[in-house]
Structures are given as C-alpha cells and as structure tokens.
C-alpha cells in the first residue's frame, strides 16, 4: 500500500503514502438489481481510511451504483434492491436497525452536477448542521459555516457575500459549495459522483487540489470518467466493467502495469 501519485500533478510523496491500518469500508458480495436488471454482481472491495479511492470504468458499468450503495442513496429508487453486506467501521450499513439518516451524516455525498439549494450561501452550509443539531448557538453555527467554507477553499471568495444565493456562483464555486455543505456535518466518508464532469479545466484543477487536501481528514471515494483525474487524485483505483470489479489496486500499478487485459484496454483507450 505505498502507491504514489503519478507525475501529472506533483505532490509531496509523504502525504501520498497510504496510512496503514484496517480498511474503512468493507464491501462483501454486493449485488444490486434495478427491477429485473442485475446491475452489480458480487462486488467485494476494501476502501482504505483517509485516502482517495477512484472508481473508473465505462458508462453503465455500475460504479455510480456501487457508490450510491455506500450511503444508501439507492433507497430513494423504488425499483432498486441491494443484497450483500457493506460495513463501515465494522458496522453493517444495511442492518435494519441502522438509521439511514445517521448513516448519511457520516457518509456525505457530492453529485455530478452542482446542486446547491436555492438558498443563500450561508444557508446552504448551515442546512446539514441545522437538521442534525450540530450547533447550539448562532456563533457556533457561524463557526461551522466558516470552517466548512475554508476547508473547501471557498471562504476567501464568498466571505463578503454569504447572504447571496448559492445558485448565483460559478459552476466550480457551486461544486465547492456542495463539497463545503457535505463537510459541514463532519462526515467520515465523502462520496463524489463525477464531481468535475460539469466543470471547466480550471475549476476541475481546483476541485482536484481540494480533494487532495481533504484526504488528510476524510475517506474519499470518487467516481470519474477521466483516467487522468483518477491518476492525479487517487491512491487506489478500482476498475469496474459490466457490473463486476475487474481489478483493484494502488493507482500507480493499475495505470502502469494492469494485470487484466480489459483494464489494459480501457486505460489505453481501446474502449469505454
């Protein structure tokens, strides 16, 4: 577990080293069905703590489906059925006694398209802390909002206009606002579903930098269509194809010497 980032974006080697220890998330034999369609087949995967794990693969391969299993967002889709076990810190998240609301407070999510609420920037961030009762006073809430915005490197850009509406920001700022919103409830895991696919290269670069900083404190799982992005930001990569994980390992190894021919074909652009 000593993958280093690729040369695409220079990074200090020390921070790129994976911390040792037990994996944060352990998935075992996960199967997902959408009505009749068998979308994920016997997926088993360990996701390490305080590192970035990237899911790559062609469209419709199940990577987003698996991501949405981790905070049970698939519950909102009526026809979706999940079988198997996913454990976070040894706790099965599909245990009937588990409160999905608390799970989602621990496992935040950032979506493909920036989706700030039609409220002020401040209210966007304060939303989560309010519903989970994290702040006892206005001052405390202000502090949470500021910290979340700072961690999402958005504070300097918006500190003078916290009452402006969040939808008035640029696309990249909106996405960082959504990341700040997720951070505000202090989750342990942040799931990102193609967070840069709606953004321009400069905004993408900023988000990637941010992801790299966030892994000091959070376990991050990112779905991406861009192999360069996976190479730049992640320490481990899982390659999905047709509902199964073909290969998983340190990012550098996946991109330099893949074991499976399908992985090789995908990363060299033969299909996908």
């Amino acid at each position: 577990m000593d993958a280093t980032a690729t040369a695409a974006r220079p990074k200090p080697t020390a921070s790129a080293t994976l911390p040792a220890g037990d994996p944060k998330i352990v998935a075992k034999d996960v199967n997902v069905y959408y009505a009749e369609k068998h979308a994920l087949k016997n997926v088993s995967l360990d996701i390490p703590e305080r590192a970035v794990m990237a899911f790559i693969g062609p469209s419709g391969c199940g990577k987003s489906t698996f991501l949405r299993c981790i905070n049970r967002m698939n519950d909102t889709i009526a026809s979706c059925r999940v079988v198997g076990s996913i454990k976070i810190d040894d706790q099965d998240i599909y245990d009937p006694s588990l409160d999905v609301v608390q799970l989602r407070a621990r496992v935040g999510m950032v979506f493909q398209k920036p989706n700030p609420f039609p409220k002020s920037i401040y209210e966007n961030i304060a939303y989560g802390p309010r519903i989970h009762g994290l702040a006892r006073s206005k001052a405390e809430l202000d502090e949470i909002v500021e910290q979340a915005l700072r961690k999402a490197s958005l504070w300097n850009e918006v500190k003078d206009r916290l009452q402006d509406t969040g939808t008035g920001l640029s696309g990249g700022q909106q996405q960082r606002l959504c990341i700040a919103r997720a951070i505000a409830v202090s989750p342990e895991v942040i799931l990102m579903d193609e967070p840069c696919s709606a953004l321009d290269p400069i905004a993408t670069a900023k988000i990637e930098e941010l992801i790299d900083e966030l892994r000091q404190n959070f376990t991050i799982v990112i779905v991406t269509h861009s192999m360069q992005q996976a190479a730049r930001v992640s320490q481990r990569t899982a390659f999905f194809h047709l509902g199964v994980i073909v290969e998983t390992g340190p990012t550098e190894r996946i991109f330099t010497s893949p074991n499976d021919k399908r992985t090789q074909d995908y990363i060299t652009g033969r299909f996908g």
Binding site: N71, M73, T76, A78, V100, V101, Q102, L103, R104, A105, G108, M109, F111, K113, N115, P116, F117, P118, K119, Y127, G128, I131, H132, T165, T167, C178, R181, A182, V185
Partner: protein, 459 residues
C-alpha cells in the same frame, strides 16, 4: 352570404397553395433543390397567405362597417314625418324596418316604413355582393402580387414566418382587447352609478339594502349601497374556503408528488380533479341540504346560535370545491423541482419531511403561490354555492355562524328580473363588478410580484 365568403376563403387558400407549391416544384425540377431558398410547400403557403390576407382584412372591415351603412341607408329612406326623434324611437323604428326587410311583417306598417324597409333590404343585398366581389378582387390582386415574387431564390419561408408572427400577435391582441373592453363597459356603467350615488358612500358605507322605490309614495325603500358588508362577506367566505383548501390541497399535493407511488398517484390525481368538474350548483345542494343543517345541529348541541344559512357552510363546501385547484397545480410544481435538489438534501442525511419543508417547498413556492391565487380567484368569483348556502342578508359580521352575502351573489340578485337600466339599484351591480374585478386584479398583481421575486432560484 358570409358563409359563402368564408367557404370561398378556404377554397382560395387551397387553390393558391396548390399553384404556389406547383411553381416551387417546377423551380426545384429546373434548378435542383439545392439552389432554391425555400421548400416548395413554403412557396405554396406564401401564395395562399398573400391571397387570403387581404380577403380576411376586408372581411373584418366589412363586419365592422357594413351594417352601419345599411342601417343609415334604410333610415334615411324614411319620410321626414316618420324620422325618429330620439334613441328609443330610433331603435323601435329600426326594428320595424328590419321586420319589413326580412319579409316577416308587411301589412300593418306605414307605407313610409315599408319603403324604408325595402330600401334597407336592397342595401343589405348590395353590401353582401360588395363583400363577395371586392373580397375576390382583393384575393386576385394578392395572388398576383404573391405569384410575381415567386422565384427560386425568393425567401418564401421567411415570409410565411412573418405571417405566423402577425397571426400570433393578433390572437394575443384579441385576448388583451377583450379584457380592456370588459373593463370599459363595466367602467362606464360604474361611472353612471357614481353620478347617482356618492362613491365614498358606496366604498365605505356599512349598510347594504338596495331596495329602491318603484312608486314615489313607497315607504322605507330609499336604497343604501354601502358595499363594505358585501366585501366583508366575500372575504370571510374566501378565508374559510382557503383555510380548508389551502392545507388540504397542499398536503394532498405533497402526498401525490413525494410519497405516493406512481400507480397511486395515477389514480388519486384524476379522482381529485373530478372534484373540479362537479357543477357548482351540485355543490350548492350539498352545502344547503347536508352541510348547513349539520353545522346548525352541531352548533345547537354545543349551545351556539347558528343561522340555518351560514358563512361557514358555504365556505367549507367552497373550500372542498377548490381543493383540486390547489392540489393539482401544486403537485405539478412540486414535481418540477429538480431531483438533484432532493438528492442533495437526502445526501446530507435529511429525512423526507425535512427535505420537503426546507428544500422542496421553498423551491416550489412561486408555483404554489400561483395555485393559491387561482383558487382564491375561484372562491371570490363563486356565486352558486353562496346563493344556496350563505343567504342574501347583507350582515356586516365576521362571525362565520351567521348568514352573510357576497359581491357576486348581490350582482346576480340585482340583475335578475325586470330592471330599469337607469336606476341606481341596477347600476350598483356594475359598480360591484368593477370593484370585484379590481380586487382580483390586485390579487393577481401581488401573486405575480411574489412569483417574480422568488423566481430563478433554481435553474
């Protein structure tokens, strides 16, 4: 004759289209489609439009002016001793002339009138022939003008596009002008009323008793037209109705949009909308025969004094009637809130009701406000239920257990039966209508401002 004219219009359009299209096809054969600016069908449409547009305009002009000319012709044929002195005599003379012209009555009228009637019939025939001949002439000119322009490079498509635009503008102008026309027709009668009755007494008077004396020696029937009790009654019933329809409709909408499975929604929504199709008279039965007695007996059991016709009964039933207006529209706007906002909120660990309360309803607010405004307009304009269930007594009260009356009910009462059109009693109906119109206009304006203010919050 007008029917023949309109039929001719259709034929001209069809004929011109065929000719134009044929011409277009010829161009295409000669030079290849690539060198033409517009498709052959646009050449056809352009020719059809240039032929029928002058026909249509002429028809409208004829409709507006022809009958006046004919009338003038008939009247001026009257001998001097039969010429009408005032407007009333003019109308009755015209009726006689018309009867003669239609051949209904030719025996019992004065010879002068008969002659005038015959002149009238002659002029009328002439005017119809003029319509047809001038119309066809104009069509020919338009056709020739259009046909001369057609050539491979001619921009027929742009021409047709311009015509479509003009047509659409004309249609919206009809809607706007109708509104303006209604306002003015009511406004003039209102001004006549205010010439007979001071406007401040009308707007701020606290007593409504519109009985005016028919004979000069009648007692106690001077007529006071203080509209405040009516507007108070209208407001009271509207508030009761909205306090029923607002929450029930909104919650039903939330259920349908957020909680119900598509199958349940597919059943519940049409069933709720059936409610909007029930004639208001039927709701009136229900209010007068079922709800009002029930409220009365319940009130008596509680030791309350309830009138047998009460604002509460009318308001409750009206509330039920307007539930579908609130629920159906709100359901649509809630459904239009992007799924990404829901995902965002669920992803933060919000529950369903938190998401609805804090994200979906604020985002859907403009639409919900307009749904409420539509329902309020319906409630304010509703007449039948109130007539049947709330009574006619113009009490100035905000006690929902008493009988009240509303503006619309009084308008209906004032205008039913034989009326002189110059008495204050009749004219007051127009004043009421005008103020009511103004009232709903203000409501709509406020709603529009609210919607504008909160719009653009999500893309």
């Amino acid at each position: 004759m007008t029917l023949i004219y309109l039929l001719g219009l259709v034929l001209v359009a069809a004929g011109a289209y065929v000719v134009g299209r044929q011409k277009g096809v010829t161009f295409a054969m000669a030079g290849g489609a690539s060198r033409m600016h517009s498709l052959p069908s646009y050449h056809g449409a352009y020719l059809a439009v240039s032929a029928i547009a002058p026909m249509l305009l002429w028809f409208i002009l004829w409709l507006v002016f022809a009958h006046r000319v004919v009338e003038w012709g008939g009247m001026s044929a009257l001998p001097a001793d039969l010429a009408p002195a005032d407007g009333l005599a003019y109308a009755s003379r015209l009726r006689e002339i018309l009867l003669v012209a239609d051949g209904v009555q030719t025996n019992e009228v004065a010879p002068g009138v008969r002659a005038a009637g015959e002149t009238y019939a002659l002029w009328r025939g002439l005017s119809e022939w003029t319509l047809l001949i001038v119309g066809l002439g104009l069509a020919l000119i338009g056709f020739a003008w259009g046909a001369r322009q057609l050539e491979p490079q001619f921009r027929a498509r742009n021409g047709v596009e311009r015509f479509v635009k003009v047509l659409l503008i004309a249609c919206s102008a009809v809607a706007v002008l109708t509104t303006v026309g209604i306002v003015f027709s009511v406004l003039f009668e209102t001004l006549r009323f205010f010439a007979k009755y001071p406007w401040y007494d009308f707007l701020f008077g606290l007593q409504w008793s519109p009985q005016t004396a028919i004979r000069a020696d009648q007692v106690g029937a001077s007529g006071t037209f203080g509209a405040v009790p009516l507007f108070a009654g209208t407001t009271l019933i509207m508030l009761i109705a909205m306090s029923v329809a607002g929450p029930i409709g909104l919650f039903a909408a939330i259920f349908m949009a957020e909680y119900a499975s598509p199958r349940v929604r597919g059943i519940v929504k049409p069933v709720l909308e059936v409610l909007a199709g029930v004639p208001t008279v039927v709701f009136g039965f229900f209010a007068a025969l079922t709800v009002a007695p029930f409220i009365r007996s319940t009130g008596e059991a509680l030791g309350l004094n309830v009138a047998s016709e009460s604002a509460l009964a009318a308001g409750l039933v009206m509330g039920v009637m307007i539930i579908p207006f609130v629920s159906s529209l709100s359901d649509d706007v809630i459904n239009a809130v992007p799924q990404s906002l829901r995902d965002g909120s669920y992803g933060m660990g919000a529950t369903k009701s938190e998401t609805i309360k804090k994200v979906i309803l604020p985002a859907a607010l403009p639409g919900i406000v307009s749904a409420f405004m539509l329902a309020i307009s319906r409630a304010v304009g509703e007449t039948m239920i109130v007539v049947m269930a709330a009574g006619l007594a113009g009490n100035l009260t905000f006690n929902p257990l008493e009988a009240v009356t509303t503006v619309t009910v009084q308008i209906k009462t004032l205008l039913v039966g034989d009326q002189e059109f110059d008495s204050a009693k009749t004219l007051s109906a127009f004043a009421l209508g005008f103020v009511l119109f103004f009232f709903t206009l203000v409501l709509n304006f406020i709603a529009l401002r609210i919607v504008q203010r909160y719009r653009e919050q999500y893309d």
